[in-house]
Amino acid sequence: MELIASLFCHVSESIPEAEIQRELQRQHDILAQNAASSGRTIEHCFFHVGEFNLEDPDQVLLRFLQRAQADDLGLVLVESKDLFPLSQQAHIPCMEVCFVREGVQEILGNKDVQVAEEDLRPKNVYMYWGF
């Protein structure tokens, strides 16, 4: 069975705009290398910028929680605990998180927590084929 991972990269808005992309890419590269070394393919990658507020999630955090609820994140890789400040009792759908720098793996959240689901299907679709 294929082993999968999802990468969660985060920066607060307190660093200058020019550094945000560099920092996200730096975290991504470390996590992608970790996934590859453990034989995991990367299913989802989340680049989050701003306040880490899961009670009032922005779009990136909400999609992250929705994927956790759909149980298709695999192992969530985060560079360090300070980038993902949650307790094991956090009010989020259940997920298994690996903090790469600390070298620890934890199950966070609760299976009973539900978040709003997104309607995935566009209402109107048009197909164009030029040649």
Binding site: H28, E43, F47, V60, V125, Y126, G130
Partner: protein, 310 residues
């Protein structure tokens, strides 16, 4: 003479002359390819930027021969094949001064020859020389002009992940595309498929595509589905303007290999070869195996709507 000038003047130009193209067409084509090459090579040491541009050639470059490094095959697609060379293979061949279109085997020889040539070149040295060039930095200009489309492509290129979420690029107002917003009577039906046979490098938006964009612009929950990027156009400015038009309206663009909306993108991990017939295209769209969750939903929705309108 540097490696790029040698290729253009001593390899490509004699070949095009041999096919009988007009001198005017030749000069225009060489000029465009020179700008595209220099502009891409200028960013060759910037991994994310380079990969963003090369992504535009990945659907095709994955299948190009000879089997050189994938970056070189994609470089040939983006900088050379995606140019007025398309015109000489299309029904608009007369614009190149030809009396008939060029067979696909001749176009394949152009790309194979370029792959063989550039496989032997030092890209770090070509990058250094390109940075000294006074030529237009086309791709940097496009990145600035189409920030929402560029961000989507950049995030697709930045990772090997199947799906990527990132903060939406803020949009002050939807991108205006000349012709689409005119008060003209154009109608199309959801679930409809249209085939257009046009010059794939022309900057003009052809009527069937215009009709779809017009219908989509009046709808906040719609998607344009195509077989491949090249089935929309080989003209990068036109492609980015169409993507910007869709994504700044929170509409979806999906090919059989990519899915894009502002803030979320997905990719098929092993790209499918672009279709060459209606059957190929329908088979590609129906192949949702291994796709990300939104990509799969969009292609499945098309299949469902297409059936209901039959």
């Amino acid at each position: 003479m540097d490696a790029v000038s040698h290729y253009l003047n001593s390899i490509l130009a004699p070949r095009l002359r041999g096919y009988g193209v007009s001198e005017h067409f030749l000069l225009r084509t060489i000029g465009i390819i020179h700008t595209q090459m220099t502009s891409l090579l200028r960013h060759w040491d910037d991994r994310v930027f380079k990969n963003t541009v090369l992504l535009l050639g990945l659907e095709e470059g994955s299948f190009y021969e000879p089997r050189a490094k994938i970056d070189i095959r994609c470089f040939v697609v983006v900088a050379i094949r995606n140019s007025p060379i398309e015109t000489i293979q299309s029904d608009a061949y007369g614009e190149a001064g030809l009396s008939k279109s060029l067979p696909s085997k001749d176009v394949k020889e152009i790309t194979s020859e370029a792959i063989r040539y550039f496989s032997k070149q030092d890209f770090a040295e070509m990058c250094r020389q390109a940075k000294l060039s006074a030529r237009q930095d086309l791709y940097q200009e496009l990145a600035n002009e189409y920030p929402v489309a560029w961000a989507a492509l950049k995030h697709l290129a930045a990772t090997n992940s199947k799906t990527v979420d990132y903060p939406k690029v803020s949009v002050s107002e939807p991108y205006f595309l000349e012709g689409v917003d005119k008060e003209t009577e154009i109608t199309a039906t959801s679930g409809e498929m249209k085939t257009g046979i046009y010059d794939g490098y022309s900057p003009e938006i052809e009527p069937p595509l215009m009709a779809f964009l017009k219908m989509l612009s009046a709808d906040s929950n719609g998607a344009l589905i195509v077989d491949s990027l090249k089935s929309v156009t080989r003209n990068i400015t036109k492609l980015l303007s169409i993507l910007e038009f869709l994504l700044t309206r929170d509409l979806i663009f999906a090919s059989t290999n990519y899915y894009m909306e502002n803030g979320h993108v997905e990719r098929r991990m092993k790209p499918l070869r672009a279709g060459h017939s209606t059957n190929d295209m329908l088979r590609n769209v129906s192949n949702t195996s291994g796709l990300g969750y939104k990509h799969k939903a969009a292609l499945s929705q098309y299949a469902k709507q297409a059936k209901s309108t039959e």
